[in-house]
Symmetry: C2
Subunit: 596 residues, 2 copies
């Protein structure tokens, strides 16, 4: 059976030493988040992840969810685990204190999310979706709606969902058919079918607050006619308690490649009572609030599966005796050497280590920027942080999930035939991680969002700020005795990213397909630069620590070696991505569809 240990030291290193979270103690919410408090939260989160959630991960996969007449049963132990989760106050960790939350920084919430997802991704999605619903109502709901729904979402007594997709439309929500009929009393009747609704129905909470996109009858065509509604499973009475059953029902649950422990439902709304969130026909704006938060969460899922898969591959690689090191026997007292002596096994492990730690730093860096965007006193700082979050959100989602899946698959490869056997658990990480590349906007959509929208927003202000930050970092360190080589290599990768950016400016106007053709490669090039930057910062701190009392600490020494690994063996991929961006759309678009 696979195991999981939360990467506490690495998370602390990033939060305290690299991001220096304590230095933001002037920000609202950060004053309480002292290093001691953060460490206590991380340790408590680690404990529940390791001891409560991880042991249920295979159970969830094996049993799946079951439905009978619209009633969903979750796998054995999920109800009890959710209860434990709620009682620990985890659902409200980063939520507004006005509604019962703890108001801790997002950056801390991200760290806890990663642990939960590593331990049990299918389980973690239940509270994860609730948080999306919380965000949408918190930002776009009326005060009455907030008062009615938020306390119970924050406490976790109720859960929430996001309802976007319909059988014939996922990416292109303008095709939506679910309709909302105004009832004259301020409510609407919602009718339609939504599919792929994660946590759409289950047996863990008293009520489920569905956030549903629908078109108000008589409104504008297409995407401009979409509005967002609160459609509770049980209508909430004046006493704030779940009352009469709304006319909505889970029709079936999907049989999926993975995340079997999460109930992915077809939801049928049959004239269900709904309450408008925000303005009529402005549903997409509110939906994007949920979506952007969800996208970052999905990026964390990619990372999380790579991390837990890596941990188990590492255990196996240290334990499994097979063959002798080609450089000479390492364990003469044993019948064979542990396979971690083999360079090709280490290649897979080091790639995963470099990705996990670099990806974690990138995700937490982004989490901190969200906090700054929300809480900094200085409008310019808030704007810059908000720009960067918007810019990197598709990269966090797309890069961390593409690579998360790849690394999980490599980890499985380390186990040879055992990796393919269910009992060992590695193949579940591969299957579970695969969905993260698809939902909340398939990674192709992330790449288009990055290239087609985020680059150009506000005249390119965000990407220019990103380049400025990187140019300063590399420029300040070129020629530096320990960081010079890193700065040099990273600077070259930044140059490639800049070239790719300018290539789009020059070539996408004449032929927009040139933007689409290079978007995936651009996203990956961006991800490489981002992780290279994180590795530069981590190497710098590690070198300082080694020089200042930390001499001989294997943790810091490993940081320097892994940073070098990233620069020498991962970052060179940036050249291929640039070459492909510059190849443009020609060979992609040349064939008529029938000639494929």
């Amino acid at each position: 059976m696979p195991s999981y240990k939360a990467p506490l030291r690495d998370t602390r290193f990033i939060l305290h030493d690299v991001l220096r979270v304590a230095s933001y103690n002037n920000l609202a919410g950060f004053a309480e988040a002292t290093p001691d408090v953060i460490d206590a939260v991380l340790e408590a989160g680690a404990q529940i992840a390791e001891e409560v959630l991880a042991p249920l991960n295979q159970v969830g996969d094996r049993e799946g969810c079951h439905i009978a007449d619209g009633v969903v049963t979750t796998p054995t132990g999920f109800r009890e685990a959710y209860k434990t989760w709620v009682e620990g106050g985890w659902t409200g960790l980063t939520c507004d204190a006005d509604y019962g939350g703890q108001g801790l920084p997002f950056v801390v919430g991200f760290a806890v999310n990663e642990m939960m997802s590593s331990a049990n991704m299918a389980f973690a999605m239940y509270p994860g979706l609730s948080h999306g619903a919380y965000e949408a109502i918190h930002q776009h709901g009326t005060q009455a709606q907030k008062d009615m729904y938020l306390p119970n979402l924050v406490s976790g007594i109720w859960t929430g969902t996001m309802n976007l997709t319909e059988p014939h439309c996922g990416t292109d929500l303008g095709l939506m058919r679910t309709k909302a009929e105004p009832q004259g009393d301020g409510t609407y009747k919602i009718t339609g079918t939504k599919i792929f609704i994660s946590a759409g129905e289950h047996d863990m909470s008293e009520n489920i607050i569905h956030l549903v996109l629908a078109k108000i009858v008589g409104g504008p065509e297409g995407i401009k006619g979409v509005s967002l509604f609160i459609v509770p499973k049980y209508l909430v009475g004046d006493d704030g308690k779940p009352g009469s059953r709304n006319t909505l029902k889970a029709g079936s649950i999907e049989h999926k490649m993975g995340i079997a422990g999460n109930a992915t439902c077809v939801m049928n709304y049959d004239g269900a009572v709904g309450f408008l969130v925000g303005e009529e026909h402005k549903g997409m704006r509110a939906m994007f609030t949920m979506m952007n938060a969800a996208r970052l969460g999905v990026g964390l899922q990619g990372l999380s599966q790579s991390e837990v898969a890596y941990q188990n591959a590492l255990i196996y690689a240290k334990d499994r005796l097979q063959g002798r090191a080609i450089s000479g026997t390492k364990a003469p007292e044993k019948p064979a050497d542990p396979i971690i002596v083999h360079p090709d096994v280490r290649r897979m492990l080091m790639n995963a280590k470099a990705f996990n730690e670099g990806g974690r730093a990138f995700a937490l860096w982004t989490g901190l920027k969200i906090d700054l965007a929300h809480r900094d006193a200085d409008p310019a700082t808030r704007e810059l942080a908000d720009d960067l979050v918007a810019l990197v959100t598709p990269v966090v989602k797309g890069y961390l999930t593409d690579k998360g899946f790849e690394m999980a698959s490599n980890a499985m490869q380390c186990l040879g035939g055992h990796g393919y056997i269910r009992e060992w658990g590695l193949e579940q990480f591969v299957r579970d991680s695969r969905i993260a590349m698809i939902y909340e906007g398939a990674n192709g959509i992330q790449a288009l969002d990055l290239v087609g929208r985020k680059l150009a927003q506000n005249g390119g202000r965000a990407v220019m700020a990103f380049f400025a930050e990187l140019d300063k970092w590399t420029g300040d360190r070129v020629g530096h005795p320990t960081l010079g080589a890193h700065a040099q290599a990273l600077g070259e990768a930044v140059e490639r990213l800049r070239k790719a950016t300018f290539w789009f400016m020059q070539n996408a106007m004449a032929n927009p397909d040139n933007a689409g053709a290079g978007s995936n490669d651009y996203l990956h090039l961006f991800g490489l630069v981002a992780l290279g930057y994180m590795w530069g910062q981590m190497a710098e701190v590690a070198a300082e620590k080694l020089a200042n009392g930390g001499a001989g600490d294997a943790f810091y020494e490993a940081k320097l070696i892994t940073a070098r690994h990233f620069i020498e063996r991962v970052l060179p991929e940036s050249a291929v991505h640039l070459a492909r961006v510059e190849a443009g759309a020609a060979t992609l678009m040349a064939l008529p569809a029938e000639a494929f």
Copy 2:
């Protein structure tokens, strides 16, 4: 439900026009294999693959195999399909006519194998393993053994298996514990446990002929004491019929990520009667006969899953309406454009198309070389062909399976959320294809075989011959109006492969870890060059066809565009692989195991 159409035109194009199989009609067995006969075989194979095997692929996945007291039940329809397969004479297609086979060239057998595996990989493994057993007995058995076992293996009335792996040893067979005790009458008693035995027990054949590796008691330690035995499920009587039950039994079947329709068994041998194949303690040599054939077959499996996944992604991409082309609406009469208008969807489809057709050509090129190695009258031609087969076998296995999985996953991505749902079938291709990277020697072992063994064999004769062939092809075409750019780019990739080869020569002596560290990248660099060479040849033929009466034929025009796609968007990866080879082992080997 997914569908499958055998790629008949493409296969014919490669066999007849690119490889010009008809020009070898002076070789034994080839005279009968006229283009008409080959086409008839391909069409009949396509029919059974499409109509009999493909419809059972999801059934096999859903039902899996079941075991009760050592008796295995295969999924609904498998028995009947196997009967149809046997009755069609397919099991003996390339087998020796002396034992009832049809003696057709291997290159034709490869083409049929690909179709079978695309249609139903789990099913195709049953006859696939039999063929391995056939090969081992045919090459290493006594005449009496051949007479006893081959006719029924060729006819398919019996099936065969390969038994190598034990719980504590897979790659490192020297650790093997299964023992063989000589009985004085020329037979041995075999005792031990073998795991991961594909098709180890089932209900489709009258007898199962297990080929089992074991150590003769008192023999040399380690790999030098391993011998190969025939251990039939039913001992064969003097009448040639299955007689008394041997003391061997399937203990359990594995629950796997995929290929659920194939029974992967734990096999317990409890003093079972075994018959030595070949010489004592020379079992590995005989095993490699099976293994090399099996490795090429596994390479075809990787290709096959990419092909069928691509076909289904293509159908979806032409059918699914979502969004509008960024270059302007393409289907104004519809509510949205089919997603094949989107460059990023085409990126995934074109990459798969370039891989499938290039990989098919590479596999068939290798198949033809096997025929030449066996059948050519000229010893020098035989030696050269044999050298090349030995050299590229790990590349066919490793590259086609790594990429096959990647392409299957990309095909799944084209379907968005539907790709993750079992009913659509795409996720099964991903799961099924994943095993091909692992079994018959994990791809890391293939890479080591290539770099550590094949490159240096006979003083590098094989790789030098490969370079000579490529240098001639590119050299003859540099500056050519239609092929010059291809030759130029391919020549650069060949140069990178040569550099990597020399880098190993210079750096692996001093530190053997440098060979292991770069082996995976070297294998991929080799695969890129091989496919680039195939694409060059295909482009050349396509250009000739277009110039000589084929003008306007979309098939040939697509070949030219896809060749260009490969050169512009795939082959550039070769630079990264060289950079990684040249990075050496430093960052991989620096960390002590406990510092990971």
